[in-house]
Amino acid sequence: MRVAVIGMSHHTAPVEVRERIAFGPAEAAIALTELRNEAGVEEAVLLSTCNRTEVYLFPAAGSPPIEAVGRLLGRKAERTGDSIRPFLFEYRGEAAVRHLFEVASGLDSMVTGEAEIQGQVREAYERSAAVALEPPMTGPVLNRLFQMALAVGGQVRAETAIGEGRASVASAAVELARKIFGQLKGKRVLVLGAGATGELMVEALQREGVEGIIVANRTFERATELATRLRGHAVNFDRLPDVLASADIVLASTAAPHHVLRHETFREAFPDGARRPLLIIDIAIPRDVDPALGDEPEVFLYNVDDLRRIVDDTVRVRKEAVPMARGLIDAHTRDFRAWYASVEVAPVIRTMRERAEHYRRSELNRLYRGLDHLNENDRARVEEFSRRLLNKVLHDPTVQLRRGLGGNEGEGLINAVRFLYGVGEGDAPSPPPASDAPPCRTERIQNGEESE
């Protein structure tokens, strides 16, 4: 299989190196054009994110132009004087296919299962397909490969726990809120303190639909500033019991050296105890909320260490899903191999049959030269005999060849037939245009907080 990938990722290179070969959209288009012009690459896709820069290739014939790609990335890096060669990795054939499937599924990401990479793969594919070159930079093979990769990524995410939970402190708080309240639309949030961390967390909750943000801060002006930014309203600290009684979620992040939300305040707000769930997220150090509140039956009190533990647990759950995800990826890698082999074998079989047909015709012509007495009817019968004989001789090898394509020996079989009939790789016409589907539409990237 001529598919290959060369590049670097967080596995092979530190950030100081990766940032030197990060390509923006315009740079990626130029780089692909250079690859086409310099190395005659037939198909290529350049994927560049914070954690990886990878070039997927399908060369016209022969070995992939790894050197040309290396030079391209080297030129980009050498603007700052360093060589990037020691940090590059290279996969060919099935390993390259599996690598792309793992990348698209989030298995190769820094945070296992992060969601944004799928959108980045899609964008890279669409951008590469849109480069103004004729023929386009993505053809039948890479179109098929990337469309499969996006489908595999979606399937892995849907059918395994690889994307389970949230892998940042803010998103863990959101996940927690969703597991308590279900839909967050219409839920009211009380923000204690006007710090940046609390603001980020509120923004994450607002994306999920919370409304009615109330900001309470010692300095009323700062509370008003934050409330304006968050489209909420500010209150004085002395109104804390009132606003607490109507809140569903409390976010505490003040810089106070003592507890801001005491048990007495809670009792003032809920004289008979809370009768509905109240989620309190205390991300302040020292803590803002009296830990005794956690003993209230309907109060769910989480501090920053608890949230970090959730993130760790999430990562563990995701990692446990890796074997199942790999199983799906292996199955799809086999599917791609079978598809690729079927595409490769079609021209080989055609050439094989054309050659046989050529021999049949030339032998018939030689035969007829000594048999002038044969009438049209006799000639037709001889023609029919030779055609049947040829079909019978070629039938079994053709059937067996197609049957063997799904297995591991598929490519070897094709090469054997090429060898036996003297057909070179370059002799094979391009794969059928039927699979040259247009690139997929860009979709909105979900869960953007865990970025590649």
Partner: protein, 270 residues
């Protein structure tokens, strides 16, 4: 035989749901587990219909037949949750309940009753239909209640493992328990009303002091109390879930004990 098949499919459905829990899988795995559960309920319904056709009586009299019918009530609760997305995950609680009842039913034998009872008339049919609906609502409420308590414990103890990810949000479970409890209680009230009317129309069929009647009225009161714990002034999701679960267990244990100790000769039960 069809009962055995239904039990087998219930077991497969349960295994699939356990797989969903352990592997954290979603999408197709959840679909297959849900679909298998639905098939099991369908086969179970066919088994009960077959019983009715073969013996010419409703499967409510002999202990095995009655336990199978009670298990079928759980199956109906399972069916109700299937279109409710996350709520369908209560299957992991409902299925063991169904499987145990089916196992006991098959163990004691699903046989017709030697008694010849006059089960006819609109009042009796309505009584049975609403009783099924009522117990189905409570089964659902109890299953949701159990999951609520587990999820509440998970979040409270900050152990957000497989159960946390598998179990639906507390609000969803609370809503399911509330709706199941309300619909169940209303239906059971109607069932008792129709049953009383039917008894009045057929004097002497069953006495008010009959343990079955006492059990039915006792169940109704237990359900009333558990509902009050959920919707009363001091009602909270946690308290409602706990009360519903305890009430349901009391009713089921009472039913099974009475059913097994009274034998087939005590006649009509549900």
């Amino acid at each position: 035989m069809i009962h055995h098949l239904a039990l087998g499919i219930y077991l497969i459905a349960f295994a699939l749901w356990v797989g969903v829990l352990l592997r954290g899988s979603r999408g197709r795995a959840v679909f297959f587990a849900s679909a298998t559960g639905a098939v099991a309920v369908g086969v179970h319904a066919a088994a009960l219909l077959g019983f009715h056709r073969e013996y010419g009586e409703l499967p409510l009299v002999g202990p095995g037949a009655a336990l199978s019918s009670l298990a079928f009530v759980g199956g109906l609760a399972l069916l109700v949750t299937l279109p409710l997305r996350e709520a369908a995950r209560v299957a992991i609680v409902l299925l063991p309940f169904i499987i145990v009842l089916m196992g006991v039913a098959l163990g004691v034998g699903i046989e017709p009753s030697p008694l010849i009872l006059e089960f006819r008339g609109t009042g009796f049919v309505l009584h049975v239909a609403f009783a099924f609906l009522g117990y189905q609502g409570f089964t659902l409420a109890a299953a949701a209640g159990l999951l609520y308590l587990v999820q509440h414990h998970e979040i409270k103890s900050k152990r957000l493992g497989r159960f946390f990810h598998y179990i639906p949000p507390l609000a969803t479970l609370d809503k399911l328990g509330r709706v199941g409890g309300l619909v169940g209680f209303a239906s059971l009230s109607l069932a008792l009303g129709f049953g009383a009317a039917w008894v009045l129309q057929h004097p002497g069929v069953i006495a008010l002091t009959d343990p079955k009647v006492v059990w039915a009225i006792g169940s109704w009161m237990v359900f009333l109390l558990s509902l009050a714990a959920r919707v009363g002034r001091d009602g909270s999701g946690y308290r409602g879930a706990a009360a519903t679960l305890v009430g349901f267990l009391l009713v089921v244990v009472g039913y099974v004990v009475l059913r097994l100790t009274s034998g087939a000769t005590d006649g009509l039960f549900l």
